[in-house]
């Protein structure tokens, strides 16, 4: 492989990894604090992509607007799900929680089909980011670089939010002992809603960023949730560094494995998960609570 094509593949891998990271870290945040594995996280990603299409594609509003509006819309949907439904079952068996979040996969899938149909919805790339730059003599889309830059920025903002603000302090406290936190005056139900909203926002942001890259389709939620589960299992549930590491590993495999053996990307991803599960059953960054 030439240097230039290697670099292009590497950039592809990293930009896909950043997308995976955004979605995975949202799932991890929700699990780390609420203790709920949200099957509907992929469906929320899909809704983010369709919302981005609606704003930037159908209404032809600048993509910058969609970048704000679509994730916020997903955060609102997440909040409604948490406040009206999930909140009632935190004390119940984990199987009940899994079933309920799975119900929302089906509901959101059907809603999307009802509203947008089953066709592929392509969102145009934002004008500002639609060009390409020359890297080692090859053209590379600016949009890919944009995602590569945005990923670490969001990661840094999230780290700051969780580690350095009083909201984050309460989140970390409640993630290890929600009852003790409430006995010290923390309004845990409100905190949980906010965390679920933030996790949903991250899923929605991932979907919004994916819309101009891969188009919105009704099956995109299922595809991403499988990859996301692999990322968090490999990285360690609840761990932010784990999400980053897992996403990078999967992004690289996803890009480079097919070059060696065509269409081997999913097989290799499952193999990675199986190996990690055998060697480190709790992931590369096992943690008892949310870790940033």
């Amino acid at each position: 492989m030439s240097t230039s094509s290697f670099v292009i593949h590497l950039l592809n891998a990293i930009s896909f990894a950043m997308l995976l990271f955004l979605v995975s870290v949202g799932l991890n945040l929700i699990f780390g604090v609420l203790g709920v594995i949200n099957f509907a996280h992929g469906a929320l990603y899909m809704v983010g992509a369709y919302a981005a299409f609606q704003v930037a594609g159908a209404w032809d509003v600048p993509f910058g607007v969609a970048l704000v509006v679509a994730p916020l819309a997903v955060a609102v949907i997440g909040t409604v799900i948490e406040v009206l439904f999930l909140r009632r079952i935190y004390a119940r068996d984990i199987a009940v929680q899994l079933l309920m979040t799975f119900a929302f996969v089906l509901i959101l899938d059907d809603l999307v089909r009802l509203i947008w149909g089953t066709g592929i919805k392509a969102t145009p790339r934002p004008e500002l980011l639609s060009g390409a730059v020359s890297i080692f003599g090859r053209e590379y889309p600016i949009y890919g670089l944009f995602i590569i830059v945005l990923g670490p920025l969001v990661a840094a903002a999230l780290w700051y939010f969780i580690e350095r603000t009083s909201f984050g302090q309460r989140v970390r406290a409640a993630s290890t002992d929600r009852h003790m936190a409430s006995a010290l005056g923390v309004n845990v139900p409100v905190l949980f809603s906010a965390v679920f909203a933030l996790g949903s926002l991250l899923a929605g942001l991932g979907g919004t960023l994916a819309a101009p890259l891969r188009s919105a389709t009704p099956s995109m939620g299922e595809n991403i949730i499988i990859l996301t589960f692999i990322v968090v299992v490999v990285g360690g549930l609840g761990s932010f560094p784990g999400a980053l590491t897992g996403a990078l590993m999967l992004g690289l495999l996803n890009e480079f494995a097919p070059l060696l053996v065509p269409r081997s990307e999913m097989a290799v991803a499952y193999a990675l998960m199986a190996i990690v599960l055998l060697i480190r059953p709790r992931g590369l960054f096992p943690s008892p609570a949310l870790t940033t």
Binding site: Q169, R172, V186
Partner: protein
């Protein structure tokens, strides 16, 4: 509830409180009261229901019946955070500090309960527990057992409580640490905060408190001044299993 009545109401009053867990009722009708600034202890053997009583007061149990009033307000239906914000500080058993938070963060978290009340500053609690001052940046999970216990008490004080619930603060600690802790608690009880302390160490508790309750299998078996209990061999023997020989 008018102000005047609030002013006269006891800090805490439980009337015929029944509470428990999924497996069944543990408290079979507890009636007790803590007056303003009063120091009260609740003694009882393992499993008597001391912790359950404090959890019921704090709003941490799923089922509660009977009446629980804090400063004259019926808090029976309040969530825990609202009870904390109304001025109840909780020092749980088994040193439930937040292991991933630093010492400083463990303490400032309690400001969530403070609302408008004035309360101690970080420096105030550090002067009470000098050890903690040097450990400010350490993670709670890395502290020794004694340090963690001090942290739970300091954290409880940071909520600026009018009533402090202390659940067996000296349990499982080395004698030197107990002595340190005892000095700190003696200082705390001289302030105007009301205290409800649960203990198995009878002499320790009676030396700190004005009044005592004895709890056994979810029921109150004795109520009276600390001095009266100290001389009541029958109650001490029957419910606390401390013969005169074991007491010193």
């Amino acid at each position: 509830m008018n102000k005047e009545k609030n002013g006269q109401a006891p800090t805490l009053s439980l009337q015929d409180v029944r509470a428990g867990y999924d497996i069944g009722e543990v408290l079979h009708g507890i009636t007790l009261r803590v007056g303003r600034g009063e120091r009260v202890c609740m003694l009882g053997r393992n499993g008597a229901g001391k912790t359950t009583t404090l959890r019921a007061i704090m709003g941490l149990l799923p089922q509660r019946a009977g009446r629980i009033e804090v400063n004259g307000n019926d808090v029976g239906k309040w969530p825990a955070h609202r009870i904390a914000r109304s001025g109840v500080g909780y020092v749980p058993e088994e040193r439930r500090i937040f292991p991933t938070l630093t010492v400083r963060e463990n303490l400032t978290l309690a400001l969530a309960a403070r609302s408008q009340r004035n309360g101690p500053s970080l420096d105030d609690v550090f002067s009470l527990f000098p050890n903690l001052a040097t450990l400010q940046r350490a993670r709670g999970g890395n502290l020794s057992g004694g340090e963690q216990q001090m942290l739970t008490i300091a954290r409880g004080l940071m909520t600026a409580p009018g009533l402090l619930l202390l659940d067996e603060p000296t349990e499982g600690l080395a004698p030197v640490v107990v002595a340190d802790l005892q000095r700190a608690l003696e200082q705390i009880v001289t302030t105007d905060v009301a205290v409800l302390l649960t203990e198995q160490k009878v002499d320790f508790a009676l030396s700190l408190c004005d009044r005592a309750y004895v709890l056994d299998r979810g029921e109150i078996r004795f109520e009276g001044p600390a001095g009266e209990l100290r001389n009541n061999e029958r109650v001490l023997d029957e419910y606390l299993a401390v013969g005169a020989a074991q007491r010193g």
